[in-house]
């Protein structure tokens, strides 16, 4: 497939202006600090300083989209060298551009999903998330009781504050902080059901949530330095090296899809995936955001995302929204489809469907 991809230039419009001026001074200050400490200049794996592998040159590199071809090449070689040393295996960092005429879309069949969480762990394997301390997963599976949109009469007048023999205090319109009426209460949605639980439980349905790749992504609006932006395929990506770790995007995202590296990521070298992409699954640094990219290191080269391939029931479908014969378009045309939190006007390209 990769041969079929026509070379395109990544749209730079979104990031042309908006340098992180307000951080310039801070940047210079910290650069000075880096230069002062010789340990940071030499790449060395496993030393006490978690950032030791990151060279000054890497810390000072510009926004990837604005780099010249030569700068990109240097940046990529620098990264490949660092990762190869760090994980003890030949690592490639690709910058394959987004294929032309493609808008990626995803469809997930919630009447099939069994909540086995294989997608969650497939994603971790593919995308080099930190395995522990911090443990990071990009997909979260919600387990929701069936038929419980609690407008039921018995639910309407239960709730805090409970009436006591002294009388009824407080205004109570049904439901309470724990069991909201007419909505999904946090009590009923379970994210942490245990491992080895036999799934599917017939009384529940399961809804995996990951980055919804919004057409109007609030996270992109929130980013003060434009480190996160929408690529020409409609995938919201992050330049991890440009990210300042302010976590504004995390707050802006209505889907809880973004994750923050609170510490130095931990990836066992033998499990590390050495086929990476600059905007995709290359290992992140501490203090930067990350999230689902529809596995762009795969999808830009024609392969399906890892979560789709792992799903044992085939609930996950991926394809080109601009191609009416693609799986996703056929689903939108023939099934009952909805978007998550449609009222937020984020226009996700991630669709849920039944049937």
């Amino acid at each position: 497939m990769s041969e079929e991809i026509i070379k395109t230039n990544i749209e730079a419009d979104g990031v042309k202006q908006g340098r992180r001026d307000f951080l310039k001074n801070v940047g210079i200050a910290s650069a000075a600090a880096l230069v002062a400490s010789p340990a940071s200049v030499e790449a060395s794996a496993g030393s006490a300083n978690p950032d030791a592998g990151i060279t000054v040159a890497e810390s000072l590199q510009g926004h990837f989209v604005l780099m010249s071809d030569q700068e990109k090449k240097t940046a990529i070689e620098r990264l490949e060298k660092r990762y190869t040393a760090q994980y003890g295996k030949k690592t490639t960092v690709s910058d394959v551009p987004a294929p032309k005429g493609v808008l990626f879309g995803y469809a997930l069949n919630i009447s099939k999903c069994i909540g086995c969480r294989r997608c969650v762990h497939a994603c971790v394997q593919e995308n080099n998330q930190s395995r522990d301390n911090p443990e990071i997963q990009w997909i979260q599976v919600m387990k929701i009781p069936k038929g419980n949109f609690s407008f039921a009469a018995d639910k309407l007048d239960t709730g805090y504050p409970k009436s006591s023999k002294l009388g009824d205090y407080g205004v109570q319109v049904g439901g309470n902080a724990y069991t909201a009426v007419g909505g999904l209460s946090p009590e009923e949605v379970q994210n942490y059901y245990p491992q080895d639980e036999a799934v599917p439980d017939k009384n529940y349905f399961y809804v995996p949530v990951q980055c919804q790749q919004c057409e109007k992504p609030p996270c992109v609006k929130a980013c003060p330095v434009r480190a996160t932006f929408r690529d020409p395929n409609g995938v919201v990506v992050i330049d991890y090296n440009w990210c300042i770790g302010c976590r504004m995007c995390q707050l802006a995202c209505p889907y809880g899809a973004r994750r923050f590296n609170w510490g130095e990521p931990n990836i066992p070298p033998e499990e590390m995936n050495p086929k990476t992409h600059y905007f995709g699954n290359r290992p992140r640094m501490r203090g930067v955001m990350e999230k689902c990219t529809f596995c762009l290191q795969r999808t830009r080269e024609g392969r399906n995302p890892a979560c789709l391939e792992a799903c044992p029931v085939g609930a996950r479908k991926f394809g080109n929204l601009l191609d009416p014969t693609s799986d996703v378009r056929k689903i939108i045309a023939t099934k009952k489809v909805f978007r998550f939190k449609e009222e937020m006007s984020t226009y996700p390209k991630f669709f849920y469907f039944i049937g």
Binding site: P200, P268, P312
Partner: protein
């Protein structure tokens, strides 16, 4: 529900690994099962080194959608360019999580007759994993099922009337209560009476075990149309229309002898997400 003794293998492996890790490393693994995460931090203590080598042994006997009937073995270095194995499996459930080579062990899907559906199916580059190697009875003799069902050793059935069968009770526990079709179906609606190596549809066409969709499709038309369109079932490989894809056939997900009990047999869930900082249990989620 059918049960076979090999179902227990994954959990045994896990127990062994967990024991090994605990013994060698003296690790009090939080939650008792967090082998995956416990040991890969760089650590110089000799005891931990021991635990490390134990814990990194990858799981090799895995399964895809159906436990035992979707078994796959992990093979190292199938994609030398990246040092990828053919698959990576879950250390806790042995479920296949990740494909290094999505087309490993596949054969062409074979001819797929046209049906009257609008999408026509995109079978140009369709491959499947063959089903025959997964069938216990098929692999008992050199001639497959016909080793026994040759008309002499086991006589051909005289009619299609349901009766009690004393054989194959591991596959169909009680043949008078076949859990498919609500009492209206019999073995020979799917299995050929005279060539037991093949399935057979209502028109009497013999169908390979590797193409069960052609049989199931004759009764489950709507699902079959969706399956051909790529909506029902599963396809991996390339996403592009016309690209090479590995298709899952019906019996890779459904046990044709028990669908009435479980359309899809339960499997085990993988480990839950990390709890938010400061939270020690999810009881008040």
């Amino acid at each position: 529900m059918l049960t076979t003794n090999s179902k227990n293998i994954p959990s045994i492996i896990i127990v062994v690994i967990a024991l090994g890790a605990i013994l060698a490393g003296g690790f009090a693994l939080v939650g008792g099962f967090d082998i995956k995460n416990a040991n890969h931090r760089q650590n110089n203590s000799a005891a931990n080194e021991g635990a490390k080598t134990k814990a990194v042994q990858p799981v090799t006997e895995c399964y895809e959608s159906r436990e035992t009937y979707g078994a796959v073995t992990r093979i190292e270095n199938v994609v030398p360019q990246y040092g990828y194995p053919n698959i990576k499996c879950s250390k806790t459930t042995a479920g296949v999580l990740w494909y290094g080579d999505p087309f490993d062990g596949t054969i062409p899907m074979g001819t797929m007759p046209e049906i009257n559906d609008s999408t026509h199916g995109d079978f140009t580059n369709a491959v499947v994993r063959p089903r025959e190697p997964h069938l216990t009875y098929f692999n008992m003799g050199p001639n497959g099922c016909v080793t026994c069902h040759d008309g002499k050793t086991v006589p051909f059935p005289k009619d299609k009337k349901p009766r009690l069968i004393t054989m194959h009770t591991d596959i169909v526990a009680d043949s008078t209560q076949l859990k498919h079709g609500r009492g209206a179906m019999w073995c020979l609606d799917c299995h050929s009476a005279t060539n037991r190596n093949k399935l057979v549809d209502r028109q009497g066409n013999e169908i390979s075990f590797n193409q069960p969709q052609r049989l199931c499709g004759t009764c489950h038309g709507n699902v079959y149309i969706d399956w051909r369109a790529g909506i029902h079932g599963k396809r991996i490989g390339t996403w592009a229309v016309g690209g090479k894809k590995r298709w899952w056939v019906c019996t890779e997900c459904h046990n044709p002898h028990t669908v009435q009990v479980n359309r899809f047999d339960q499997i085990k869930a993988e480990s839950p997400p990390p709890l938010p900082r400061g939270m020690t249990s999810a009881n008040y989620e």
